[in-house]
Symmetry: C2
Subunit: 136 residues, 2 copies
DNA sequence: CCGCGAGTTGACGTTTACGTAAAACGCCGC
DNA sequence: GCGGCGTTTTACGTAAACGTCAACTCGCGG
């Protein structure tokens, strides 16, 4: 009882539409070692594995990670089943690093929210002042 | 009763050390309209206002905002006291945009954490398997 | 007066992450 | 058999965010 939606394949333009990136971007990510689509002739065929990787990559980007960083995690993850102790240790290091990254980002977000609140308040005060002047 | 630490000034290398960025970066931010230090002769003199701006800028960067985005907020904020209604409205728009940005980032962080947890678990399993093989 | 350290001003270089345009390939319907 | 559409390869271009000199200038201690 294998899942049928799990065996789907995608063209480059399909993936492109799904994630709102250009085909060029997808090919570039492949060139950078983030994707490894199959080939039928010269045409690329993407499976769900590739779709997931692309999703991970884009999320990583939104969080400010470079493609090189993302690739290293993916590579180590792929090599995980037959990895040696040193590689596994390296992966754990990387993960800890990413975590501390996320933590600082959360703090940055909190702080930034406070600042946005502050700016918005002053902005609304200024609007009120304008309205009063127009009225008076 | 004015605060004395509030009237401090900083040299470019002082600021540079405080935030662990190069002087070049600080000058570049000025060129991009993010800082406006005083001058004594040809030498730049930074006040706390500049220090705060730099801090905001660097935080914005860590959150993936471009220097241009950060500058627009800063400019509108500075022009706030004598701003017209259109500018204030624009600022409110910008703020809302940043907020939704932060919200998506928080979701990205949650998701990324889940994925890191997953990877780490598999990694530890692999380490255990290695240890058992070495032992057996 | 001289050198030294800190700072400044161009100017050009570099990295990352793609955009863009040209030329060719392959399949599909008519 | 051929025009069109999607895809590919190759190559050059570009924007952002600095790095890296090189060639000043300035103030100061000796």
């Amino acid at each position: 009882m294998t899942s049928d939606s799990a065996s789907r394949t995608y063209s480059i333009s399909e993936l492109s539409r799904m994630f709102e990136v250009t085909p060029r971007t997808i090919r570039f990510y492949e060139q950078e070692g983030l994707l490894e689509p199959q080939r039928r002739g010269q045409t690329r065929i993407y499976h769900d594995k590739d779709r997931v990787r692309l999703k991970l990559t884009l999320r990583g980007k939104r969080l400010g990670f470079s493609l090189a960083e993302i690739r290293e995690v993916i590579e180590l993850y792929d090599a995980l089943p037959n990895g040696n102790a040193r590689q596994l240790q390296r992966l754990l290091e990387l993960l800890a690093e990413k975590r501390s990254n996320l933590q600082r980002q959360e703090e940055d977000i909190r702080q930034m929210r406070r600042e946005l609140d502050d700016v918005e308040e002053r902005c609304r005060e200024a609007l009120l002042a304008l309205a009063e002047n127009a009225e008076g």
